[in-house]
């Protein structure tokens, strides 16, 4: 059993599709889970129809959604790291790495979860994953937590092979869907389909939601 889990993603909702089920399972098992979210997704494009936000009010909207998502999962240690959406790759890398190092020192996690650098599609995903990898690499090999990474490029299995860990999250699916729904500004089109029942339980998207796959980052290679 894990002692402490640390999840590091750049945007509110990055946890929702790929990790919310596993985070919920840890919470249910009594494992402390910390979610460090680097930005508030300030550059999100969806303002709704009718509008629910402007460029200036979106950060507050998404902060509330992030808190609601954590509440849905039962995650009570949320750290908002205060970076700005779409700027992570331009920051001094040392600033990101040292921010994550401080969290790792404080929490001493047995497991860390982030994006697989280079396979993130969004530049913030890659920058976040790279900073987490670097922060953990600096620990003595024996002290390193396990690092579960999420590659999301379509070619991930062709390049990286099959995932090392696949979790069936059907048992916590209700919570996972509540987490997805909490990020309404990002997911409202899909949420509407979940709510009106038009999403077939056997559809590709539901199959995708029921399974969470991770690649263990290979520090030794």
């Amino acid at each position: 059993m894990e002692k402490q889990v640390l999840v590091v993603f750049p945007h509110p909702d990055d946890e929702a599709f790929g990790t919310a089920g596993l985070m919920t399972k840890f919470v249910n098992d009594g494992v402390p889970v910390t979610y460090a979210c680097a930005t508030l997704g300030e550059m999100g494009r969806n303002m709704g129809n009718p509008f629910f936000a402007t460029r200036e009010t979106l950060p507050e909207v998404r902060k509330k959604e992030l808190k609601d998502a954590c509440q849905a999962m039962g995650v009570n240690d949320l750290r908002m790291l205060g970076f700005r959406d779409k700027t992570l790759e331009f920051e001094d890398p040392e600033l990101l790495v040292s921010t994550i190092n401080k969290l790792v020192d404080e929490l001493n996690p047995s497991l860390v979860i982030t994006f697989y650098p280079g396979y993130g599609i969004h530049p913030d995903h890659d920058a976040c994953g790279a900073a987490v990898v670097e922060a953990i690499k600096r620990l003595p090999a024996d002290d390193r937590p396990t690092l579960y990474t999420l590659p999301i490029t379509p070619d991930r299995e062709a390049v990286l092979g099959k995932p090392d860990k696949v979790f069936d999250v059907t048992d916590v699916l209700d919570t996972k869907i509540k987490t997805i729904e909490a990020h309404r500004s990002q997911t409202e089109a899909m949420v509407a389909r979940l709510e009106d029942g038009s999403l077939d339980p056997n559809s590709d998207i539901m199959t995708f939601i029921k399974q969470e796959s991770f690649w263990i980052y290979p520090f030794d290679e």
């Binding site: 969806n46 509008f51 460029r55």
Partner: protein, 113 residues
């Protein structure tokens, strides 16, 4: 925000003429556009740039274009559909049919957060 009403926005814009301003200028096709290799993902972003303009004009029949004549240059944006005046700041944006922002121009006397 509400749909741009051209005379109203022109009047508001003119109140900002010849004043030291902060501006936000943004255009984006979305970071995930890079997934589709047929498309070029583009975007540009300036937050709290400094600006002083001598003339301004909003043009078109919707979506609208807005151009600012600066003391030593120009700034313009196109594709604007909606606007809002809040706390003395003018927010203008171009949204597609589903409400996704593609372009934004904002003016303020004080820096944006």
């Amino acid at each position: 925000m509400k749909p741009i009403q051209i005379e109203d926005v022109q009047n508001i814009l003119e109140t900002f003429e010849n004043k030291d301003l902060y501006f936000h200028l943004e255009t984006t096709s979305g970071a995930y556009a890079a997934q589709n290799k047929e498309k070029l993902a583009v975007g540009a972003y300036i937050r709290n740039g400094s600006l002083r303009f001598t003339n301004v004009k909003i043009a078109g029949s919707g979506p609208f274009r807005v151009g600012f004549k600066l003391q030593e240059g120009w700034m313009y944006a196109e594709g604007l559909t909606d606007y809002q005046l809040d706390d003395g700041r003018l927010l203008m944006a171009g949204h597609d049919k589903s409400g996704r922002l593609a372009v934004a121009v904002q003016l303020s006397y004080t820096p944006f957060d």
